[in-house]
Structures are given as C-alpha cells and as structure tokens.
C-alpha cells in the first residue's frame, strides 16, 4: 500500500512540472505567420544541400531556404535536432530527395504532406531512367543528382512547385528556372568533356561508397565501389582484396575518398596495392551525399559537380 502511495505522490508532484514545460514550450513557438518570413518571403525547407541550392537559384529573392542536412552530413544517418522540428513546422514548402534517400524520415515527410506542400524532387523523373536497387524490389538508387541531365528534372519540379505555391511571383520563378536549367545544361556538357579527356581504358572510378552509379552511366565511366548502397552496410574482407586485385590488374592510377565518409577503407586498399608493387594514389576527395561548406565554390551544386569532374579528370588522365 505504501508503495502505491509513493508512486501516486511522485506523479502528482510532477504534474505541475509537466504543465509548466508544456506552457513554456508552447510560448516559444510560432513567432511569425506560418509559411511566410517576417519580410514576406516564402519559407522553403529542403533536406539536402543540393535540393536547397536548386530552390535558392530558382526562388531567388522571393524565397527563404533552410537546409536540414548541412555540409558533410550523410542523409542516411541524419539525426534531427530540436530546431529541425521548427524548420519543418514553419515551412510552407518542403522539398526532399525521395527514393529512400532520407531513410525513415520519408515516412514522416509523407505524413506532413497532409498539412502542407511536401514534394520529392525525384517524383517527376521517369522511372525507366532510374537505376534499380536490389533485384525483385521496387527500390531505386537515390543518388540521382550525379546525372546532371536527370537532375534538371528536379529543378523543373522545384520551379513548378514554387509557381503553384506562389503564383504572384510566377514570372520570376519561370525566368530563374529557365536560367538554372541552362546552367545545368552547360554543366552537363562540361562534365562530359572532362571525362573524355581520360583515355577510355582508364575511365574507371573507384570509390568507397556506391553513390556514383548515375554519374558512371551518364558519362561513360565504369564505377567500382567498395561498399554497398548504404553507408552503414558492412563490407566483406573479400570485397577489399577483390578490389585491390582489380586495381593491380587494370593498372588504375587513382582511387577516391568521399566527403561524407571516413577515408580509412580506401587508404587500406592503397596500402594493399602498394604491397603488390602497384602504385595507386588517392586521387582526391569527392563530394557524394553532401556539398562543401557554404561560401566555398563547392558549397553549391554546380561547384560540387565541377569539383568532382575536375578531380576525377586530373587524377586519371
């Protein structure tokens, strides 16, 4: 009996605390009107930097874009902070990658879609242009931004969504969308050109994480990865030695590390190849799931893709 009394006592003692917390938290909420910033801009939240960049380019001065996943963050492993709730809650439009790029968060985004405009930028991409994941499943590789021509579809989706959500600035969105598509067209041509500088036999991209499937397909580069699609899946010892033998056999000059993954596994392979008398260098750091720091050239989508193309071309040609 005494035990039960203590328990009830503890509960009632905590009740005011609970109320206080609820009130405190409630007050700290919405400062400005839902979906619009204090100076009347449309509030847009994007999951990854690549998507946010497209929204900034196309929305220009009429939108205020917030990014959930900053530089160097792996979208598969993203953990939301308390502030991210507010970023999602305040936004009028939320853009995300889709195709399971954001993992479990996608389920939540689909739920938020009942209350506001939530758009997967890959929705408009023809399914036959997507690379399938495992056999006998309807899953696709989500790293679509590495095929610049395919990524244009994402830019178009962003443009259409903004026009629909904010028709008063439709003209500006259309114009800026057009300009951005042009820039992407030039970027696509640039990457293609740079890849042609590499002798055909050496056009092999060896990286730690299979994020470059679309890049390889679009620009005629053979992609050999060490790890599966997930950044968390473990790779076998055989994967490591098979890749090392492949490097030696094909006489490949360089392998690459990635910004959102530790370089350790690639360094092990370089050391392994050196022991077999084949010199491989680390060709440089590629951006895969996240862009560079804001303010640097690699902090934009176009800069990031150019950096990757330049790094690959310089190391392999």
């Amino acid at each position: 009996m005494e035990a039960r009394k203590t328990k009830i006592g503890a509960w009632t003692a905590l009740l005011p605390l609970l109320l206080l917390a609820a009130v405190l938290a409630g007050c700290s909420g919405s400062g400005s009107a839902q979906g619009v910033s204090e100076d009347g801009k449309l509030l847009v939240t994007a999951t990854t930097g690549m998507i946010a960049d497209a929204a900034k380019e196309i929305g220009g001065e009429h939108v205020e874009v917030t990014t959930l996943m900053g530089p160097g963050v792996d979208p598969h492993l993203f953990k939301a902070s308390q502030g991210d709730i507010r970023k999602l809650d305040r936004a009028a439009v939320i853009f995300y990658g889709g195709l399971h790029l954001e993992g479990n968060m996608e389920r939540v985004l689909e739920k938020i879609a009942a209350q506001k405009t939530v758009v997967a930028v890959t929705d408009g991409m023809p399914r036959e242009r997507l690379i399938a994941g495992a056999e006998e499943s309807e899953e696709f590789d989500p790293h679509v931004w590495f095929d610049v021509d395919l990524w244009k579809s994402a830019a178009e989706t962003v443009t259409d969504t903004l026009i629909q959500k904010d028709p008063s600035n439709a003209e500006a969105y259309r114009e800026q969308g057009e300009r951005y598509l042009n820039e992407l067209g030039q970027l696509d041509a640039y990457v293609r050109e740079r890849m042609l500088e590499i002798p055909e036999k050496g056009r092999v991209l060896v990286t730690a994480h299979d994020a470059f499937g679309y890049f390889g397909r679009a620009y005629g580069v053979e992609v050999v990865g060490l790890q599966g699609i997930s950044t968390a899946a473990e790779f076998g010892a055989r994967d490591v030695s098979a890749l090392r033998d492949y490097l030696v056999e094909r006489n490949i000059k360089a392998v690459f590390v990635e910004s959102s993954l530790p370089a350790r596994s690639m360094e092990a392979i370089v050391a392994g190849a050196a022991r077999q008398g084949h010199e491989v260098k680390i060709g440089g750091e590629l951006f895969s799931d996240a862009m560079g720091e804001p303010g640097t050239p690699e902090g934009t989508y176009i800069g990031m893709i150019r950096h990757n193309a330049d790094t690959i071309a310089e190391a392999l040609k």
């Binding site: 905590l14 609970l18 938290a25």
Partner: protein, 291 residues
C-alpha cells in the same frame, strides 16, 4: 502542440521503461534492451525478403517476432544455468550476425540498416499521426506507447506480488507454488514489446537508456521495490521533461539530451544517496575513524 506531443511521448516511454527497468536491474538483465535493439536485425531482413518492401508495418512485424525470440532464447539459456550476462551476449551477437549475413547475401544494394528502417526519431512523433475514419486521432506513437504502458500497469497491478518474489527469490517463489518460469517469460515478453514499439517511435538510445538509468538511480536510493519503482518512474519523467527543455535551448538531439539528464540524475544519486552514496560513505568512514 508539437512540443506537448513530444514531451508526452517521452514521458510515456520513460514511465514504461523505468518500471520494467527495476525488475531487469534486480534480475541482472539490464542490458536486455540493448540486446533486443541489435537482435531484431534478422527479423527486419526476413520481413524485407518476404515482402519485398521496407514498409514500416512489415518491419515492425519482423522486429516484434525477433524481439520475442530474443528474450525467449535469453531466458531459456539462463534457465538452463548460464549466467544472465553471458546469455544476453550470446543471443544478441549471434542473432545480429545472422542479420548481417542475411543482408550481405540477399540485399547488398539496399539500404537495410536498423537506423533507416526500424528506429524512429522522437522529433518526428507529432507528424506521424493516426487517422481513424478521417478523424485525426493524434500521434500514432502516443497511442502505441499508451497501450503498452497500460498493459504493463495492468499486469503489474494484478501480479505485483508474484513479480516481486520472482525477482528477489525465485527459489522461494517456486516453493510458494508460483509458476516462476511463466512470470519470467511474461516480464521478458513485456520488455520485448515495450522495446520494439518504442524503437519504432523514438529510436534505440532513448529506450536502452530509459530501461537502465532511472532504475539504477532508484536502486541506489532505496531497498524497497515499491519505492524503487516510484523513484525510477519519477527519475524517468524528470529526465524526459527537462531533457526536452534542454534540447530546445541547445538546438540538439532530443533523445540525446533526455538520456544525458538521466545520466546526470544517476551521478547525483551516486554522490548524494543517504545509504549507498559516495559522500555518505566517506562521511561514515571519517566518523568511524574519529571514533
């Protein structure tokens, strides 16, 4: 409203876990929560291979089945004479390994890690609502955890005495004619259900932390089971609420802040407890020396 739902969810998880945690601590099985969080991997893999999707319903089903299998195996190994820490270690590493193997053989090109497909995130709770006939019934997690907590309170209320004797003195319980094994399985079954449903709503770290830390804190403060459960729940709820407020102030991970506060409460208990506390012990030693 957002904040209210998150706090309520955290309080429900904290309450359910801190009650069960007391019994787990007494039975030296505190790490069973962590074990379940790993051992459900083959369940996820099999559910994916059978259904071909990563739909959350299938994942939850696979995880529930393997959660129950895990605690069943742990209990069986322990009953057959193995130490409880060894039985937990064996079962969860073996099952986790089977899961890794299944994934690397069958689904290499699919993102099938637990963080992505099973573990939820407490920050997203308010949006993941349950609709019934078009009406918004509030967050799904609140319902799921509310039902779990009700089941726990009901079973504990009905069989408190039996659970208590089984936890302290299984031999005496058996002598009194209590089906000890049944109550062991019942307790472990509750732990498994709580763990899996909370993993799905709020993620692993919060559940594993809440199963151990508040109960351990309470353990330092009392020798009576009833009081221990009360203190454990209180510690859990205080951690949940103040942890959330701290995460707001720091713009940090909510689960991380809640578990950190629970850890701080534990350290306070470790230092200040009148019976087990380091300071009290030190003072007693000084007194003894003086005398």
């Amino acid at each position: 409203m957002m904040d209210f739902w998150i706090i309520l969810t955290a309080v429900l998880v904290a309450s359910a876990c801190s009650i069960l945690g007391c019994f787990l601590i007494l039975r030296r099985m505190a790490l069973v929560g962590d074990a379940i969080s790993h051992a459900v991997l083959p369940g996820i893999a099999i559910a994916f291979l059978m259904s071909g999707t990563r739909d959350s319903m299938w994942m939850l089903l696979g995880a529930t089945a393997f959660g129950l299998l895990t605690v069943f195996l742990i209990q069986t190994l322990q009953t057959s004479g193995l130490q409880s820490d060894a039985s937990i270690g064996i079962v969860f590493t073996a099952l986790f390994a089977v899961g890794v193997l299944l994934i690397s053989l069958n689904a290499q090109h699919i993102d099938l890690d637990l963080d992505c497909v099973l573990f939820g995130e407490i920050a997203y709770v308010p949006w993941d609502t349950w609709t019934l006939g078009g009406a918004d019934m509030g967050p799904r997690a609140v319902w799921m955890l509310g039902i779990t907590l009700t089941v726990i309170l009901l079973l504990m209320g009905l069989f408190y005495k039996q659970f208590k004797i089984c936890a302290f003195d299984p031999a005496m319980a058996a002598a009194c004619g209590i089906p000890v094994l049944l109550f062991h399985y019942l307790l472990m079954g509750m732990v498994s259900m709580t763990a899996v449903s909370s993993f799905e709503s709020v993620g692993a770290i919060l559940v594993v932390g809440m199963l151990i830390i508040p109960a351990a804190t309470a353990y330092l403060l009392t020798n009576r089971l009833g009081v221990m459960i009360g203190l454990s729940v209180a510690a859990g709820i205080v951690s949940a609420i103040s942890g959330y407020l701290i995460s707001y102030l720091l713009d940090a991970s909510i689960a991380g802040c809640i578990v950190s506060v629970a850890g701080i409460l534990f350290i306070l208990a470790l230092l200040l407890s009148p019976s087990h506390g380091l300071i009290a012990k030190f003072a007693r030693r000084r007194e003894a020396q003086a005398a």
